[in-house]
């Protein structure tokens, strides 16, 4: 258990040492490191999107008593790949009346926003592309760029359905971001840091979801709801509500540009779930229960990245379960729910959390 699978913090120095031996020049080593990390991240994001699409289809199928994709590869594993290839081979249509520059820029914006945000997620100790002291704020900020992409797409398409979708996106995502951010801050006041690694480290004694009495759980639920809304998923999928807006903001998009929206959406699900897992569920920390030595040693057998992916996947599955069960809210109900219920609740949570944190009234303080 002392090898790099469990002790992932050994990996970056080893890579640095290997590259230094190979290249020598420190500048070259830095450039090579960037290239390696970028390539790894790109590969990971692509594989992740493929996997998530497949899982979503399988979850949906089994919820609905179907089989889902079964033909391409074992249990349809390669179906997403085939679909991706098909999408790429399609004609890349730009509507005649579209605002060409913005139309082409929008999918890139969407995809880039989620892609960059992924760089800040700590998958395991020291396995994080970028780390700096306000990582959480940066991720929230860069996440908001995504809505610009959606908005731009709806506007530039010059299609009435797209425009309606874009307007809904603007109203919805900006509103729900408030609650999501406030819910995260409710935990930050306990953790005392905006640095992802320190947030994880602060949960060594227990996860914030239960260590912060009641407010931790409330904030977790609020963040869950608000992040579903931010991902434009049922019951908050008004932005692309098929039965109302045909396809919403991406009605006019085809081929690889549509694929980019699609991938961004799925990576975004993973992103919000991993933030939730990191902030509320201890990130890559294994589950330890007090002095149950046997259990704790058993939990340690699972490597930290295993814990991270297990927690995130569990949340992703809840997202999918919700999506295939719930009908969609109406636009005014959506706004009422946020501004008249969720936002006051998250403000209250934050206020209570601040008092509790300042007074030290939470489990295992210090």
């Amino acid at each position: 258990m002392d090898n790099w699978i469990w002790r992932t913090e050994k990996i970056p120095p080893a890579v640095t040492a290997w590259l230094t031996g190979l290249l020598g020049n420190p500048l070259l080593v830095d450039l090579a490191k960037m290239a390696v990390v970028a390539a790894l991240l790109a590969g990971f994001v692509s594989a992740l999107a493929l996997a998530l699409v497949w899982i979503e289809r399988k979850v949906a199928a089994h919820v609905q008593q179907r089989l889902g994709p079964m033909r391409v590869g074992p249990h349809g594993l390669l179906q997403t790949l085939a679909d991706g290839l098909k999408l790429m081979s399609k004609e890349n249509i730009t509507p005649l009346e579209a605002d060409r520059f913005i139309f082409h820029l929008a999918p890139l914006l969407c995809f880039a926003a989620t892609f960059v945000a992924m760089a800040f997620i700590p998958f395991a100790p020291a396995i994080q592309a970028v780390n700096f002291n306000v990582g959480l704020v940066f991720v929230l900020g860069i996440g908001s760029v995504g809505v610009l992409g959606i908005f731009a797409a709806g506007w530039a398409s010059n299609n009435k359905w797209s425009l309606l979708g874009a307007m809904r996106a603007g109203a919805q995502i900006i509103s729900y971001e408030l609650s999501a951010t406030l819910a995260l801050i409710s935990v930050i006041v306990f953790a005392g840091s905006l640095d992802f690694r320190e947030i994880v480290a602060s949960q060594a004694a227990g996860w914030w979801i239960w260590r912060a009495p009641v407010v931790g759980f409330v904030a977790f639920v609020i963040y869950g709801i608000a992040s579903i809304a931010e991902c434009n998923r049922t019951p908050f999928d008004l932005v692309e509500g098929e039965s109302e807006l045909t396809a919403g903001f991406h009605t006019e998009y085809a081929s690889i540009r549509f694929a980019m929206f699609f991938l961004a959406e799925f990576v975004n699900i993973f992103l919000v779930c991993s933030i939730s897992a990191t902030v509320f569920l201890g990130g890559y920390m294994p589950l330890h229960i007090g002095n149950l030595e046997g259990f704790n040693r058993l939990a340690d057998l699972i490597p930290p990245w295993g814990w991270f992916f297990a927690k995130t996947s569990a949340l992703v599955l809840v997202f999918m379960w919700v999506r295939w069960t719930f009908p969609r809210l109406r636009v005014d109900q959506l706004m009422n729910f946020e501004w008249k219920f969720l936002l006051p609740l998250s403000l209250t949570t934050l206020a209570v959390a601040s008092v509790l944190a300042t007074a030290g009234w939470f489990f295992f303080p210090g």
Binding site: Q64, P235, E242, S243, R328, Q333
Partner: protein, 381 residues
């Protein structure tokens, strides 16, 4: 409200202030949730619907005119293509008109088969409606659950008459052929299978708080408006008007069967939902009674080789899953009808949409249209 074709084409509406153009959106004829080739021209202020005009005729086939060029037996085939979700009941409606015109007595066994088939059709139609309602509200799962259960009924139809959608099984004088040997077993098995699923439907969709929010108080149809527009079926009964052709002008076996006609008073989408769910339970009870009482015997009356329609007019009414379907048969003594007129429940029910949708949101157009449950080929004919 003035909403002509000229304004629908994108020109400023009559209510437009200077420098202001109304936002017109075409919902359909190609749209995921207009249930066929229906085109709705929406006049919007943001998300709020100011006005709506249905544009019809995309699947007009001239079925009534075609009826004048063929024998009354041949026309049975075309009635399948009216409201394709209630083929058996359509056939029955036409058969009633012809039987009345020619004075044909229908054998007892055929009467029972007709009732069972009609109620199975009603169930299948309501299952589809329930699924599509879910999908129109953004929940995809009900759609597949509805189809899963509808498949059982369609299988029974297929076993009986070889077709799954356009059955033309009920015909003047009885039914085309006797049912399969294990028909009673199949239908009985289905009754046992489906009864618990109505409760599941309620738990999955009806108990969902979002669904209730989307249904309550939306698209309120007052009894007066419903009457004046000629709405029938669950749409009318959800507004509190107790009118069901099976009760008000009984035909076939219905006078002998015990069932209640579900009513609601609110007239909103929720009332229409509840009426249809309750109708499914009633249909199960009707089928059970007819199945238990089914006698042996012939299924077709002896018909003359050529069915000459005597001079005169005959009107038959039946209750389809969507409301009152009426056939007017005018004969001139020849083998071909002089005139065939179909009174479509869908047309009258759709007429309520522009009235009850004003002030609702775009999303409600889809939801209310879905609770009105229209089938476009029956409107266009």
């Amino acid at each position: 409200m003035e909403l002509t074709r000229a304004t629908a084409a994108g020109q400023p509406g009559t209510f437009a202030a200077p420098g202001y153009e109304d936002y017109f959106v075409n919902m359909g004829p190609q749209h995921p949730s207009t249930h066929g080739v229906l085109r709705l021209v929406l006049k919007l202020a943001g998300e709020t619907v100011l006005g709506l005009t249905p544009v019809l005729g995309y699947v007009h086939r001239g079925i009534e005119k075609m009826g004048e060029a063929m024998s009354v037996l041949q026309f049975t085939h075309l009635t399948d293509r009216l409201d394709y979700l209630s083929a058996h009941i359509n056939n029955w409606g036409w058969a009633l008109a012809v039987e009345e015109a020619l004075g044909i007595e229908v054998p007892e066994r055929a009467q029972h088969i007709r009732v069972i088939m009609a109620e199975l059709t009603r169930l299948a139609s309501h299952q589809l409606w329930w699924g599509v309602l879910g999908m129109d509200l953004g929940a995809f799962t009900p759609f597949l659950y509805g189809f899963r259960d509808r498949e059982r009924i369609i299988d029974i139809f297929e076993k009986t008459c070889g077709a799954r959608l356009t059955m033309n099984y009920v015909r003047p004088g009885g039914v085309t052929a006797d049912v399969e040997e294990d028909f009673a077993k199949d239908v009985g098995a289905f009754l046992g299978y489906f009864a618990p699923f109505i409760d599941e439907y309620e738990r999955l969709l009806g108990d969902n708080v979002i669904f209730q929010e989307r249904m309550h108080g939306v698209g309120v149809l007052t009894p007066e408006l419903a009457r004046s527009l000629g709405c029938t079926g669950p749409v009318l009964r959800a507004s509190g008007v107790d009118y069901d052709v099976r009760r008000a002008r009984p035909y076939g076996l219905y006078p002998r069967l015990a069932f209640t006609v579900p009513l609601a008073s609110a007239g909103d989408s929720w009332a229409r939902y509840q009426v249809r769910i309750e109708e499914m339970r009633q249909s199960l009870a009707i089928i059970r009674q007819a199945l238990d009482a089914m006698p042996a015997g012939p299924v077709r009356a002896k018909l003359p080789a050529v069915l000459n329609v005597p001079k005169g007019r005959w009107l038959s009414r039946v209750e389809t899953a969507r409301g009152e379907l009426a056939f007017l048969l005018v004969g001139d003594g020849s083998a071909k009808p002089w005139r065939v007129k179909v009174r479509s429940p869908n047309f009258s029910n759709l007429a309520a949409l522009p009235e009850i949708i004003k002030g609702c949101r775009v999303a409600d157009v889809v939801a209310v249209l879905s609770t009105l449950d229209v089938v476009i080929p029956c409107i266009d004919r």
